[in-house]
Symmetry: D2
Subunit: 347 residues, 4 copies
């Protein structure tokens, strides 16, 4: 079985295992107060051009989303999100379990627009029953989104400007941030992300780490007492050094960006070749998740050898599936998949 069903099918970048071995018997204090975490935080602040930021390391994405959002909100406030947002769909109501409502806005492409957000907030406060509704206070976006699309710098800046104007926090979920930043269509740097958000996270789990997400807080209002929140939401790893070591390795020698670029190359090859075969896509994704539409008969054959995620029925005989590349994708596997698809489509 060759797996393309997700971007977390392998372990981690070899440099991480090597470093874990080298440091294994070094004694450190716990809970992220060790030297590895400090250095990793420094590397990230440097890469993000955000020397004043606070950096915290958490274990997984759902945990990170609820910790950040619940830390930012009062009980009666909620998070604006695309209806397709991860917090709204795929976290088993973790945010609601912290008491907060997802305020859903429908989008064609998984991306919120500045206008949408502004209209929503304006409508809230204009309503005579506004106190009977959850107050919007934070905007949650993911980049890339859950369906692979990305924000342009202009779009992000516009969202950030609305947030400033309307007294909202802008939080960017970067579970796959590397794959956004290194794709061909992207026009943003990590510094832009830091500049045009109040808080964001850099995903490790899907981009070369065993696990781990690095939260970068640039808005001072969100910095205070953040570690209480991490502990309360179960995200404070006793051996925090593991997170420090991983992000040190990822942010040394530009590694995070280079391994993301590999995934981008693999996906471009995939996308281009499939397009050349006449395959169309459920959505035009520029990043490491692709949603080709294929005949069910072809998919049936492919399933014997490859894993991918079923996404959507398109018509009686065609379905969209999700195929992921990652830092770990082997080019020979992509080639093999493409050859098989070509053969099956011709048959």
């Amino acid at each position: 079985m060759i797996r393309f069903d997700s971007d977390y099918t392998e372990g981690c970048h070899p440099s991480i295992l090597k470093r874990l071995e080298e440091t294994n018997m070094v004694q450190t204090p716990g809970y992220g107060e060790d030297e590895y975490c400090k250095r990793a935080a420094a590397l990230i602040k440097q890469a993000a051009g955000a020397p004043e930021a606070d950096v915290h390391f958490l274990v997984g994405g759902t945990q990170t989303n609820v910790t950040v959002i619940s830390a930012a909100l009062k009980h009666y406030q909620g998070a604006i999100t695309a209806t397709t947002g991860h917090i709204n769909v795929h976290e088993t109501g973790a945010l609601e379990a912290c008491g907060h409502k997802c305020l859903n806005l429908d989008t064609p492409d998984g991306k919120l627009t500045a206008k949408q957000v502004e209209d929503y907030v304006e409508a809230h406060f204009a309503d005579e029953s506004f106190e009977h509704m959850v107050q919007p206070k934070l905007v949650y976006i993911s980049n890339p989104t859950e369906i692979g699309t990305i924000y342009s710098k202009e779009e992000l800046k516009a969202l950030y400007d609305v947030c400033r104007k309307r007294n909202l926090y802008l939080f960017l979920d970067g579970a796959r941030l590397g794959y956004a930043l290194m794709c061909k269509e992207n026009d943003m740097t990590l510094s832009d992300i830091a500049k045009y958000t109040d808080v964001f996270y850099i995903g490790g789990t899907k981009v070369g780490a065993l696990f781990g997400e690095a939260v970068v807080i640039t808005n001072d209002e969100l910095k205070q007492d953040f570690r209480y929140n991490i502990k309360q939401r179960g995200g404070m790893l006793a051996k925090g050094r593991l997170l420090g070591i991983q992000f040190e390795m990822l942010f040394e020698e530009n590694r995070y960006f280079e391994i993301s670029a590999h995934a981008a190359r693999m996906v471009e090859k995939l996308k281009e070749d499939l397009t050349n075969m006449g395959v169309t896509f459920y959505i035009d994704s520029p990043t490491n998740q692709q949603f080709p539409i294929l005949p069910d008969t072809v998919l049936e054959e492919l399933k014997k050898k490859y894993s991918f995620s079923y996404w959507n029925r398109m018509d009686e005989k065609h379905s969209a599936v999700r195929i992921c590349t990652s830092w770990a994708t082997k080019e020979e596997n992509v080639d093999e998949l493409l050859a098989d698809v070509r053969k099956l489509l011709k048959a």
Copy 2:
């Protein structure tokens, strides 16, 4: 100012105040364990043809919704609701504050269909990531809905059947139940409601009481320890007798139904006359909430004398507004409103 903006603009049916006075200095135990509550519960069980039901009295609608729903759900379960459902829109996230997500289904008329519910539940359990999503366990409907529409007996039974088949609870919010049961289009009795739901409530606040909602639980699974939930959610009134006395008065001598019928007569007059004037409606509501579409210029004039709720902009020059009748609506006020609208439309 003549008020048509809601169905809780007056105090209560005079029989209630009279009874409060007669009993004022009688000493009773607290927290709903008095004789008035017992008798009121007996009257309601009789009226609902549900001798085995448990009846509890709470103070308000939001409180009742969250108490019932959170009592029925485990932490990872949620409530299916129309997107327009009161719990989703107008309770400031009270249900989420108890940890539970609203699972929203879009509807044209505020009513869930059995098929919609079944498809949603089927899709949930068919999804390979089902554990990453909130598990649907309760179906929340309101009758009449938030936009005045009502369920037919057949529709309710179909929902109930799906709930049995899919192991869901069916909860009916009857904040305005009297106005549904006594409207011309209705084909259900209170017994039907009791028969085809697992739990429902009979609204007092909007139908003749000062305040108060009577929860009727027919499913044994939902009966256990319910009073702990009432207390935890802040709904256990110290002087519970006040609730008992009010529901005694409402369910003595068929009063609840008779005063609801008055509201129905008032609304029929309103609807018929407006229709005759050529007025159209935002939605075809058979109950005490009407949503006429009127020229903004007419509304501007009406506002000087009447209160109503702004509902929706229809085009550049027309808006829908909400006009409510209730048990307390004076016919002369309806007549006056109609005369004024007629005059303004002609002008």
Copy 3:
């Protein structure tokens, strides 16, 4: 059965019912935005010498406690309370259901001392694992306490000073506030309460109203968006006028204080006479709850005619019980009880 088991065994002061009748068919807007609420708030601000305060009306005590406390706290913060505090013992974990921990301090008399609070807060922040513990942020006290004791002005001021110094909020639960203010030992006015707390509430349910608690917020930090919290916690009464009318009646013509003074006179008689009979008390309470220790045989006889609350076993043959007076206590009933106790003790 003559009831002494609680201070909410009767309805309400007759002036309230009279006013409810007079205003019954007057139309008002809902949710506490009517003229009665405005006037009641004005009367309370005047009585409390706090013209800048915000006043909100809620329905019951548990609801009020959780609404105020959860509004004041971030998720990782908790409320310091005496272990005997109502929020810790008798609210079915309502505060925890909002996500907040009770930080319990043991006391001999139900009262927190300034030193206790200061030591606790100092210890919290001195602990190297402070982020692994709930951060203390609010101090909850009740006056009178759950066992009838009261704070002196000096004690309250000392607590308030510590709260200022340590950046804590001081919240006073005044479910029975009238009975504290009008008892012989008291040296505080309502203005002192307003001056030396950040927020407090004036209990109506136990002091002459059918129901209702008036929250008085003097600290600006706690004022913002408070109504969202009321709605979310289920405390926003649709017919808010009912609360306005009740507190208008209680704060017109000094009524709240006068009816409280009646309860105080009744309890003094009770206490003095029992003491003269040689009866001792579980705790020396100066307010309307008394905890006499009586032989079980005497209690057995009294139970046939009177209701009271069992409190604590003292030895094999004696128990403490709770006896309450209130605004509604009839002097003849007190006399009868005293006569019966005297007779039974002699027998």
Copy 4:
């Protein structure tokens, strides 16, 4: 700096790193549905003599405690715990953040007794206001406790019997379980733990793993839908294989028990030698946490070279500190510490 301040100062047992390397590029499905997790679960069930148990792997202790407890409780139910219990003291209110109260019982040694639990539950249901208090439903114990003490088989069985009788769940927090099972005073096996609890967990973080806790559920009532809870509470690791691999290594070749035995040997040496020097202890702990009482002057010197946790001031000149050994403790470090203490005490 030689660290004795906790039992998580090093990385992990070398076999784990080795296996992580060997399997690093193997592709697996995510979220704990891989072959490593399956095999690890099988090994644990075998070691625990519990073939019918469900085994789940979570990341950390706080997360595990709240996931298990909140999964077992309805909203109005709480967990009985020693006041010193980890859930009550050192989890930043994580359980309360899930809506549940800790029901604290004071103990001299961190251990709950069967009688204590039974008395508490009996008192709850005997109280006439029982619905106004949180209902006890689960008993939380830790073995070893937070202060190093352990349960005997007889004590555990007695607790389990009370739980059966009173319809409670018994949950054992085994964050340091290996150190309890392998200490000299212990009379239980892992099978006994499985037999006399409804659910427990085997700590990896403090016993040889990088991180990870293995939850073992033996009571069928607690098995259903458990993975929803894991996901909702942020504990479902994307690369679940990491947990599987670690527990495979720990439960292959008896490793978990052997490395625990090493910690036991180290602590025995420490305890015996200190005792021989005349040192007394804050509490008589048979496990890897020791609480010697030493002169502050001695501690001041030791701090320059060793880390340990400050525990409690005993008198003006003496303090208790916590010293931990673990699977990773080097005997030469223990020897050095003992030599230094001996020298300093003589000086």
